[in-house]
């Protein structure tokens, strides 16, 4: 018998689809002078006082593990933050877990809930991790296709239609990557109404919570009557404080949920990076102004880019959160992958096809505005030149 390591790979892993942007990424990486609006991370670097807090912790020799769930001080600051920003009370000792990015928290929450055969409801288009993590846990992803005509919000009808006896959890990824859609309080009330008489848990990925552009602040579904106990709120430092590379996030929820998540976390990860945790304490204590400054800047760019796409004839609904817009390219007659590949080859502009975020993202582009105004204007000119051939 011939030994083949390939045959030893877990079949779920082996069957996970490759990245939806691998091909474009490879083309773009081999090209010079690519103008990208294709990145899902802030263009700002972490504010200096936060970086300095990380450096100071190293100077003081704080290089050991922290306790599994995170530094007591940081958990306290997270609890203060959740209270200050959302009016949500969490006990730092047993309701807060510091994780390696929001991503780890998502993984932990799904693994803590899902048993083989359990269904997880995932609104699409969405960030790409929920489906594969659900599969890895033996669960069955049930994709809820949100629609452009609903501004890519999750509607109670869509939710209701997909609930079965096997439904274990609902992922709530708002403000949304890639669409920029948000769910406001009224929208969440309707979702809560559907869930109230069920045992369905909510994994609310609120990593973009600080980046909303309405008069009202982001509302967490945990704030809605009856939802607190069933919701794991996931957030982190990457987007709000431009700390992507520090890999630091957190989860807050009922002690009976956070406890099991800590169990997985302690075996798989031990603890989140110590330096990052010290930097995060500084961020939560003194970083509110940084958030406001970055948000102001994103908002200017958001208006510029949405206006740019609408003016050139690519309909773009107004994204009220995150730092993406999601213009429709249906008028061009091209699929989103064709569009992005041609645009890259002809104009050296890199955008991400909407379909990479789920079937209902087809016919759209994900455009990040985490770029300077000059950069955005240059890219818009190129896209306009390109589409004039098609519409």
């Amino acid at each position: 018998m011939k030994f083949s390591p390939k045959d030893q790979i877990n079949s779920v892993v082996a069957n996970l689809p490759p990245s939806g942007i691998r091909k474009l990424f490879d083309i773009a990486s081999g090209m010079d002078g690519v103008i990208s609006l294709g990145i899902g991370e802030p263009d700002f670097i972490t504010p200096w006082h936060i970086r300095n807090a990380g450096i100071m912790s190293l100077e003081k020799g704080r290089t050991q593990y922290t306790s599994n769930a995170g530094l007591v001080e940081l958990k306290q600051e997270v609890a203060n933050y959740m209270k200050r920003r959302f009016g949500l009370s969490y006990e730092p000792n047993n309701q807060v877990l510091i994780t390696v990015g929001g991503s780890e928290a998502i993984d932990l929450a799904i693994r803590a809930f899902v048993e083989p055969g359990d269904e997880v409801l995932i609104p699409i288009p969405c960030f790409v991790c929920y489906d594969p993590i659900t599969r890895l846990a033996g669960g069955v992803p049930v994709l809820l296709e949100t629609k452009a005509e609903d501004n890519f919000k999750l509607t109670p009808e869509l939710l209701k239609k997909n609930i079965t006896d096997k439904t274990k959890a609902l992922i709530l990824p708002f403000p949304n990557n890639p669409t920029g859609a948000i769910m406001d309080k009224e929208d969440l009330e309707k979702i809560a109404e559907v869930l109230r008489d069920t045992n369905i848990m909510i994994i609310s990925d609120e990593i973009y919570a600080e980046l909303t552009y309405t008069d009202k602040r982001h509302v967490s579904i945990a704030e809605i009557d009856g939802m607190y106990d069933r919701t794991v709120v996931i957030n982190g430092f990457s987007k709000a404080y431009a700390m992507t590379g520090w890999r630091l996030g957190f989860a807050c929820g009922h002690p009976d949920v956070i406890g099991p998540m800590i169990k997985i976390h302690q075996y798989a990860i031990m603890c989140a990076p110590t330096t990052s945790q010290y930097a995060a304490i500084e961020a939560l204590r003194f970083g509110d102004k940084d958030i406001e400054d970055m948000k102001t800047e994103y908002n200017y760019r958001r208006k510029l880019i949405v206006n740019g796409f609408n003016k050139m004839g690519l309909d773009c609904f107004e994204p009220m959160g995150a730092f993406y817009c999601f213009p429709s390219i249906k008028r061009t007659g091209l699929s989103s992958e064709e569009f992005c590949e041609k645009l890259l080859l002809e104009e050296k502009i890199a955008l991400v096809p909407g379909v990479a975020f789920g079937k209902s993202g087809e016919g759209h582009l994900r455009v990040s505005y985490a770029y300077s105004v000059e950069h955005i204007k240059k890219a818009l000119e190129g896209v306009e030149r390109f589409i004039s051939k098609y519409i």
Binding site: F25, S36, G38, G40, N177, L304, A350, E374, K377
Partner: protein
């Protein structure tokens, strides 16, 4: 409407059309606001920030502390005026603390700046003393990092 000023302060290349979109006004409203600012002397000019250290031109910058006697009824204003009329003097500030006026002076060589200070500034009758500091290296100027301008090191594409 300070938003217009903030936007222009960071990027003077923005057109009234761009600004209009960014702050939900019409281009005409933005144009009118800008010309009002110009009329009132709120917007006083536009310049390009140049790192002369990288251009093929030697330029000497000096920071000069000046102690002087204020004049009755006019304080330091007239003295300051006498300083800032010199083309070599790029900035003049009235300071709190150990000295009175701070000047930023530019010239083509150390000798040129030194003789300007000793020949023109120091002899003024209200000047008590001067202290000249030559700039050895500029790291950041007008809020812009000169030595290590931030570079976009992100991947070309990511979810």
């Amino acid at each position: 409407m300070h938003r217009i000023l903030e936007l222009l302060e960071n990027n003077s290349n923005l057109t009234p059309e761009d600004i209009a979109v960014m702050i939900d006004k019409t281009p005409d409203e933005v144009r009118a606001a800008i010309s009002q600012y110009e009329k009132e002397g709120v917007i006083v000019g536009k310049k390009t920030i140049i790192n002369w250290q990288k251009a093929d031109k030697d330029l000497v910058t000096a920071f000069i502390e000046i102690k002087c006697t204020p004049q009755y009824g006019r304080g330091f204003d007239q003295i300051a005026e006498r300083f800032y009329q010199y083309e070599q003097v790029k900035s003049v500030y009235l300071m709190s603390g150990a000295y009175d006026l701070a000047l930023i002076v530019e010239g083509n060589s150390l000798t040129e700046v030194a003789s300007f200070v000793s020949g023109k500034l120091a002899p003024m009758d209200t000047v008590i003393s001067t202290c000249t500091h030559f700039v050895l290296k500029k790291y950041k100027d007008n809020g812009v990092m000169l030595e290590t301008p931030p570079k976009d090191e992100r991947q070309v594409m990511a979810f």
